[in-house]
Symmetry: C2
Subunit: 162 residues, 2 copies
Amino acid sequence: MNYHIREAHKADMPQVLQLIVELAVFEKEPDAVEVTVEELESKGFGTAPDFHCFVAEIETKIIGMALVFTRFSTWKGRVLHLEDLIVSEHFRGYGIGTALLDEVVKYAAKLKVKRVSWEVLDWNTPAIDFYEAKGADVKRDWDVVHLDSNGIKNYLLKLDNA
Amino acid sequence: MNYHIREAHKADMPQVLQLIVELAVFEKEPDAVEVTVEELESKGFGTAPDFHCFVAEIETKIIGMALVFTRFSTWKGRVLHLEDLIVSEHFRGYGIGTALLDEVVKYAAKLKVKRVSWEVLDWNTPAIDFYEAKGADVKRDWDVVHLDSNGIKNYLLKLDNA
């Protein structure tokens, strides 16, 4: 499998969004993706971008991506967060996920951060096995919490009515 | 309990670090805090700060804090992440946690983000009950993953030896 890993360009964002949607379908939340190509293009490039993206390419087709940004840990200072690591279904099993994660960890080392963090679904055993084989610690006692846009709206309504 | 919520100043960071350490002890990781006052002061203020911090104050004593930053969701675009919400033990039960969370949600609305996200320990029942009462969704199927500084070092060593 003759793939190539490189930094993403703005012009890759339509294909990157396709991968994001593919992963959302796998994660049983097909309607969760509200982000647009325009948002990826405007937020990910230029001065002070919101994220940094690596892509895996076969000829001109993007078949994998890793999207990261720095965040601030009150324990470790600046750390790197891996928001998504995606390899399109038909291209799994060729080491492309490893090659993308290699780039992410090398990037973390370049930034001198003390941690790479991410999130995983507890039923996604292949992903968990993969991450643990790479030396990562899946913290089963730490859960993710979301207050979504409806939650924000209702929260503010209750404040107004208090 | 006559407290006051306001944005943090640089001069608050020594007391903010005390709260961070207090929470780490409660979370059974007393040695996990590597961040310093200098790091909080340099990363949290000035142009393009890494985080935004609210504090709860009684006279000149900081007895609570909420530390947030924006991060990029590939589903929702720019979202707000609540890294820590801390009320010092002796000051719990007076609504200070709610007052800090109110500020965070109002700040999220001001930034027009589509989500506030955070993380919680699955055995921290008082925190989970508090968050759920506020309308948040504790996603018990999503776990946090960390590759810590040793993990990063070992990962790179394996790459070098491959």
